[in-house]
Symmetry: C2
Subunit: 302 residues, 2 copies
Amino acid sequence: MALLLEGTSLARKVREELREQISSIKSVDPYFNVSLKIIQVGGREDSNVYVRMKTRAANEAGISCEHVNFPEDITEYDLLLAIKGFNEDPTVHGIIVQLPLPAHINEQIITEAVAPEKDVDGFCETNLGKLTKREGQPLFTACTPKGIMCILKHYGINVQGKHAVVIGRSNIVGRPMSILLEKANATVTLCHSKTESIADIVRTADIVVAAIGIPHFVKADWLKKGVVAIDVGINSIPDATKKSGYRLTGDIDFENAKEVASAITPVPGSVGPMTVAMLLQNVVESAVRFRKMSRKRKPTLL
Amino acid sequence: MALLLEGTSLARKVREELREQISSIKSVDPYFNVSLKIIQVGGREDSNVYVRMKTRAANEAGISCEHVNFPEDITEYDLLLAIKGFNEDPTVHGIIVQLPLPAHINEQIITEAVAPEKDVDGFCETNLGKLTKREGQPLFTACTPKGIMCILKHYGINVQGKHAVVIGRSNIVGRPMSILLEKANATVTLCHSKTESIADIVRTADIVVAAIGIPHFVKADWLKKGVVAIDVGINSIPDATKKSGYRLTGDIDFENAKEVASAITPVPGSVGPMTVAMLLQNVVESAVRFRKMSRKRKPTLL
Ligand SMILES: NC(=O)C1=CN([C@@H]2O[C@H](COP(=O)(O)OP(=O)(O)OC[C@H]3O[C@@H](n4cnc5c(N)ncnc54)[C@H](OP(=O)(O)O)[C@@H]3O)[C@@H](O)[C@H]2O)C=CC1
Ligand SMILES: NC(=O)C1=CN([C@@H]2O[C@H](COP(=O)(O)OP(=O)(O)OC[C@H]3O[C@@H](n4cnc5c(N)ncnc54)[C@H](OP(=O)(O)O)[C@@H]3O)[C@@H](O)[C@H]2O)C=CC1
């Protein structure tokens, strides 16, 4: 039975550290306030759940978090105006736009409209470019891959020289994940829907990260004995034993995979909470950076 | 014996098309002039050779190319000033800084100083970020990987679904190469100096791109029968039979590899000339883009 790479308590620890950091700065600077805006368009049920989770976690950590909900039929222009307002508001440190957006709004245009220095999701080209370039220092790194690197580090899992197979190449998970693992000196293979013989490729992996969005896509017999298995997927499947009538499950066949892997993340309870914790960490880093910059600008004579 | 993926004549064809494109624009707009600045610091012999090659090719294609040579001991500040001058000069369409730079100059700062819309090498974070992001449209793509994609296309080599192994992760070759292949729907593994069991990984490849800088690093017995082998390496090794006392060779053991591969690039004569041709293509694209933008800006009443 594999070691469970648990994220809930690790995420709690991160949130507590952030709360302490915020209150220690507030004790010397009572005007210090960390502020996050979460923009949502429409009312998709899954988005509602994510926004609620983020808002609650932010508030618990001492971050002022506003959920800004626009109607489903808002124009792209009006959404851009709202983002521009937050970009220019010096009291705002982080802006996230909950994806997916309705079809009439161009996701690329919207994610690029967020100022790179407030792009706490790490989705914009400037931050992705800094991540990709060897010497680049992104202002923010995408929260899910950042959280996974944290989990690996916390459990002392060595990545250097290992063969990591990442399944999925989205801007928010797979792609930045492959770069972070490579920068930590893993040898990375990036798989996607056009990959041929995917089972054979996964079988060569020392570390597998599954970010596809298909329940139990990765089978236990695709896994090398002793593999480290990271499951990003959050899929809701029917379950008559639950009051809600469904339950959440990952992209890896957990029940069978845990007998083959040396370590595995449960779904829920690992990558999900760490993603939220990294978002809060990015927002606090941003507020601290803005505070430093505004103090630098003060004339030294005063 | 493998098919030779020849680049010299393909590069000549690209250069001829560029010359025709330039003269056809000049025939309607006599003021149209395509201008490239090549900045070199010091006088490294290998850099001299590359700069000479680029300058000659540019001039042959009808591009005004100036080789701007600064002394080895120029300060970073003065180099930045020179780049700023070219950034602001509307008659300049492309700026490249010949690498490597002397140790006292920060390569990251210098490559980031070139305006993204004149960064015809495609090295800056803005262009790398646009390349990395799924929907991103880089203004310029790094010339060597772009040239390799051209060669593959020219010879009708299908990339989608194939397993491509890229060895080397530099900003200018390996890293952008891995992204271009992945965007063309290959499954890509990126290897580097920390990769363990590299021979075994290369053995699983349908396409290998070697960009390491070590002569004959990739052995024939690392190759799967029928592999497509792309050799980026340019290494000079002693050769008593040559007047100069040396000859150029690649990162793949060509003589033995050509018996295993289905297709292979010779060194020299393939990736090298295509790299130069893609640089010229980027410069012409830039001049055409600047021309379009300046015409757009003209008041419509005139
Ligand atoms: N735990 C957390 O906090 C988070 C969880 N998630 C969850 O992670 C999963 C992935 O999310 P996201 O990255 O946004 O998803 P996307 O839908 O953006 O990307 C899915 C990726 O999976 C690939 N894919 C689809 N089908 C196959 C297949 N048959 N074989 C191989 N690859 C395939 C796609 O390939 P192609 O590119 O070729 O189409 C694509 O790259 C979802 O379940 C999501 O809910 C997401 C974000 C955060
Ligand atoms: N044909 C053309 O037009 C061009 C040719 N070149 C040639 O291509 C070659 C590579 O150039 P460039 O990308 O600039 O080189 P760099 O020196 O910047 O990068 C070399 C890469 O090779 C990796 N590497 C080094 N040793 C090993 C090893 N033992 N096993 C596996 N990987 C290794 C390094 O890994 P790590 O990152 O871990 O250090 C690094 O990523 C050179 O020969 C250069 O002359 C370059 C540009 C254009």
